[in-house]
């Protein structure tokens, strides 16, 4: 799967969050930092080549930053969608949104008044009009205040957001971790490589056990027991 990460940030060099995400992404997606003016032809090529398009930005006054809106306004047109209007159809559109307020404040009756989904409705509209599938957004809430364990969880959640099939079953998540462990085993040496490979083998063995149990349960349920 080819993932395109479209970074729209007016002060990218000063953003700790974006530096963290850049390091976390590694080679898991093609990172495209928006800088005006845009060349619509090359922007279109990037979008056409991607299977999953991730818009990555800080929420400014409950909206996308100006650079991202400008890009949407200038690049998303009839040329991009093609004569049949289907050049983006079937792709996935997601958003990685950094928030200056706690995510818990978003929701009806809460301090920010509306949910994050409500605020992102215009982007969902873009996905709908271009026949892309909208992915549930990944919200990053007050990154600078997060401790190391939360940041570690965010790092993996972000990597999964870039590469894991959506919506993901438990088996999909297991397979994702198995692929990461295989990658680690290749990169590591000696005992470390062995331990990564052993963890992967154990993970897959237990998943096979779980799958067998679930098959047996299905049979019993189908049998009307």
């Amino acid at each position: 799967m080819k993932t395109l990460i479209v970074v729209g940030h007016p002060e990218l060099a000063d953003s700790q969050t974006q530096a963290f995400l850049k390091a976390a992404a590694g080679d898991r997606g093609r990172r495209h930092v928006l800088t005006a003016p845009f060349d619509p032809a090359s922007e279109r090529q990037l979008l056409w080549q991607a299977d999953r398009i991730i818009l990555q930005f800080p929420l400014y006054w409950y909206n996308v930053p100006a650079i991202l809106k400008q890009w949407l306004d200038q690049v998303f047109d009839d040329h991009l969608l093609g004569p049949a209007g289907d050049r983006l159809a079937g792709k996935e559109l997601g958003a990685v949104v950094s928030l200056g307020r706690p995510l818990a404040e978003f929701g009806a009756g809460k301090r920010q008044g509306f949910s994050l989904d409500d605020y992102l409705r215009p982007l969902q509209g873009v996905a709908r009009a271009t026949r892309m599938r909208w992915l549930p957004p990944l919200a990053i809430s007050q990154f600078a205040y997060q401790g190391p364990r939360d940041q570690a969880a965010l790092l993996v959640a972000y990597q999964q957001y870039l590469t894991l099939p959506q919506p993901a079953s438990f088996a999909d998540r297991v397979n994702w971790f198995a692929a990461q462990l295989a990658r680690q085993a290749e990169r590591a040496q000696g005992d470390q490589a062995t331990r990564y490979a052993q963890l992967r083998a154990l993970l897959m063995q237990r998943q096979a056990e779980l799958s067998d149990l679930q098959d047996n349960l299905r049979l019993i349920k189908e049998g009307g027991q």
């Binding site: 390091a23 976390a24 590694g26 190391p148 364990r149 940041q151 570690a152 969880a153 790092l155 993996v156 438990f170 998540r173 297991v174 971790f177 990461q180 462990l181 680690q184 470390q192 331990r195 990564y196 052993q198 963890l199 154990l202 993970l203 237990r206 998943q207 056990e209 779980l210 149990l213 679930q214 047996n216 349960l217 019993i220 349920k221 027991q225």
Partner: protein, 56 residues
């Protein structure tokens, strides 16, 4: 989580050169805990259904 898995994850974490490696191991631990729980629940359900009193 069983002792071997925990010790292996802990040791790899202690030796991990990067934050990304440690992050992967931390989240792997959570996933393996969840996997164990799912196996235990599936076994218990299978056991419960096998002993359904309607079958007696």
């Amino acid at each position: 989580m069983d002792d071997w898995t925990k010790a292996t994850i802990d040791r790899l974490t202690a030796e991990a050169p990067s934050f990304a490696d440690r992050a992967l191991l931390q989240e792997l631990g959570k996933l393996m805990n969840e996997q164990e729980q799912r196996i235990a629940q599936a076994k218990a359900e299978l056991d419960g259904r096998a002993w359904a009193k309607r079958k007696w």
